[in-house]
């Protein structure tokens, strides 16, 4: 029996199922209980948002140079304004700040260049960012070459130091983490046990302990003429610590790749490193973008712990400024500012990772 000889034409969905009104009805006001919850939720939101906006914007003081300029009830952003240079550069000498500015400009330009898909020469820019730029940045920031006065690392601070710690940590932790993850899955017993011990050691120790060890214990063991800069020690500690976490994230990704992928690559005659580098890792890393960025974000925030070994990162320098007798009582503004700065960077990373996931998605999810 034949029911329909022609295929029924496509029709748009009825207006009761699409559009903003339908959305409101199905999501917020669907039944009396949900309507009640929606109204309660809106009221709580109102209670939270209105005073915050009033404090931060409407009743806030923006201009001036001393605390006497802060007369109103809201936030006193004058404090942030007055200390802004310090928050960004730490105790870097004022006369030399142009050097830090060049590094900042180069840093953000390179990141933008690598992140914006339309710009050309990605490979060469990436090589320069990993090889050339660190040398230039070091020469500029540290000085001591080409008649640039030396600025020792204990004067580095603020956002500059935070970004330095985070960037070096990320760029170092990812490759070390990859190698450790591969090593942990290796068939070679010595490689495997080394990686297991390394990962479990660093994962089992709090970062604060690592930093303490690096700054207090290490000099006791090393001969006195061999002193390693405190910042370098913190960097090494931070990188190794995060690389252990990174290794476990990447190992999760490696395990999620079907065995058939490596077999197919092997059947084509690829060596171990080609199988990993061309077939398995690209898929594993792509799959693990959320986990990797999660580790990056926690690394970014963990940089604040260098405070306890006497380095003044963004949060450290804000806290130091709070104890200035001329500016007592503005800790809320200080912490809000620090939190906002951290949020901007972490949120950018998070958004970029979501963009990457969409871009790299090739429709093979099952």
């Amino acid at each position: 029996m034949i029911h329909n000889q022609t295929i029924i034409k496509e029709r748009p969905a009825p207006s009761s199922a699409v559009g903003p009104v339908a959305w409101l009805r199905t999501n917020l006001f669907n039944g009396p209980v949900n309507t009640l919850f929606t109204l309660i939720g809106l009221y709580i939101l109102y209670l939270l948002v209105v005073p915050t906006v009033q404090w931060a914007f409407i009743n806030a003081d923006w201009v001036g140079s001393t605390r006497d300029d802060c007369s109103r009830e809201g936030a006193c952003w004058v404090f942030i304004n007055a200390r802004f240079t310090q928050f960004i550069y730490g105790l870097y000498p004022r006369s030399e700040i142009w050097r830090a500015n060049i590094v900042f400009a180069g840093f953000f330009t390179l990141i933008a260049w690598l992140a914006i898909p339309r710009l050309p020469f990605k490979r060469w820019v990436a090589v320069f960012a990993l090889v050339g730029f660190p040398v230039i940045a070091y020469v500029l920031l540290h000085g001591g070459y080409f008649d640039l006065p030396r600025v020792s690392t204990h004067r580095w601070g603020g956002l500059m130091l935070t970004l330095l710690l985070a960037t070096v940590g990320m760029v170092g932790a990812l490759p070390i983490g990859i190698v450790l993850a591969l090593g942990r899955r290796s068939n070679m017993p010595i490689v495997k046990s080394f990686c297991v011990v390394f990962i479990e050691f660093w994962r089992g120790v709090p970062l604060i302990t690592v930093l303490f060890m690096a700054s207090v214990m290490l000099p006791l063991f090393l001969p006195s003429e061999m002193s390693v800069d405190r910042l370098v020690r913190a960097l090494i500690g931070l990188t190794l610590f995060q690389s252990a976490y990174m290794a476990e994230v990447i190992r999760g990704g490696l395990q999620a790749i079907p065995k058939g992928q490596e077999e197919a690559a092997a059947a084509l005659g690829m060596t171990y490193w080609k199988r990993m580098g061309l077939i398995v890792l690209p898929q594993a890393l792509k799959m693990m973008i959320p986990g990797i960025v999660n580790t990056f974000i926690s690394l970014f925030k963990d940089t604040t712990l260098v405070m306890i070994i006497g380095l003044f990162d963004l949060l450290g320098i804000v806290q130091a400024a709070l104890s200035d007798s001329r500016w007592l009582g503005f800790s809320l503004e200080g912490y809000v500012f620090a939190a906002f700065m951290f949020w901007v960077f972490c949120f950018s990373m998070s958004r970029y990772s979501q963009y990457l996931e969409r871009k790299l998605h090739t429709g093979h999810k099952r």
Partner: protein
């Protein structure tokens, strides 16, 4: 097909694959028992048998995706040992098609076919792409070259997988149940490609339950059960006059309806 031209070449050994007394265990489980097998250049062999009989394991031993614990395997004159370099050398001349295709999902169809020629045989991108397009045309899927495997049907993916293997100019092709994961309407398009390949003289070892395919192309059909080769014969006597009881039972089960 270049490999077809040297069938009559007597200077190279006539034996493509040689297995002597091959045994393999998974723990205590004896998967392969005293396998003796010779495959001459240009020969087409179909291996069948109930599941778990060791068919897949047998062909996977040939390119060392599985390791055998006893006996000798010689592929194209090269004895298979633990030596990684030698294993890679053998794998370059042995193509393999898997039940689940195992295409690389992060690469386009064209890239799937180019990656090994470029990175293993060090061909230029241009050369590799031209060659890939030729093979993709042969399996009748060239128009999909820019797509990702996830966008293709099972039958299309399997044809791409065959093209990917052919791009390495293998001397032998191993097929590990190439149509078992396909919807019925797609089996034919893959079998057609395999039949063409067989006609061109490719040496093939094929694990399959497609008895029609075995009848048309196979020089020999091998029946395996419990890790052993039970019966080995040309297709006509194999199907019409099976010798062992086990083979008769198997054939009556798969041909009976």
């Amino acid at each position: 097909m270049t490999t077809a031209t040297n069938i009559s070449d007597t200077s190279t050994s006539d034996l493509m694959v040689e297995m002597r007394g091959v045994n393999k265990w998974y723990g205590d489980f004896h998967v392969l028992r005293d396998i003796d097998l010779e495959v001459r250049r240009g020969e087409r062999i179909v291996i069948c048998g109930p599941s778990g009989s060791g068919k897949s394991t047998l062909i996977r031993c040939i390119n060392h995706l599985e390791e055998h614990q006893q006996g000798d395997i010689v592929v194209g004159g090269i004895p298979l040992t633990q030596d990684v370099k030698r294993i890679e050398q053998i794998r370059r001349s042995v193509g393999m098609v898997f039940q689940h295709f195992n295409l690389f999902p992060h690469l386009t169809v064209l890239e799937n076919c180019c990656i090994a020629p470029m990175w293993v045989q060090k061909k230029s991108r241009k050369e590799a792409e031209e060659q890939a397009m030729r093979y993709l045309e042969r399996v009748r899927i060239a128009e999909q070259a820019k797509k990702y495997p996830g966008q293709l049907s099972g039958g299309q993916q399997q044809r791409v997988a065959i093209a990917r293997s052919l791009c390495m100019h293998p001397d032998v092709m191993l097929f590990d149940e190439p149509t078992s994961a396909l919807d019925p309407e797609m089996i034919k398009e893959v079998l057609d490609v395999m039949v063409e390949l067989a006609k061109e003289g490719m040496t093939m070892l094929c694990v399959t339950h497609e008895m029609g395919f075995a009848k048309t192309v196979a020089d020999r059909v091998i029946f395996m059960d419990q890790g052993q080769i039970i019966e080995e014969n040309a297709p006509e006597p194999f199907f019409n006059n099976p010798q062992s009881e086990r083979t008769q039972l198997f054939l009556s089960q798969i041909l009976g309806h």
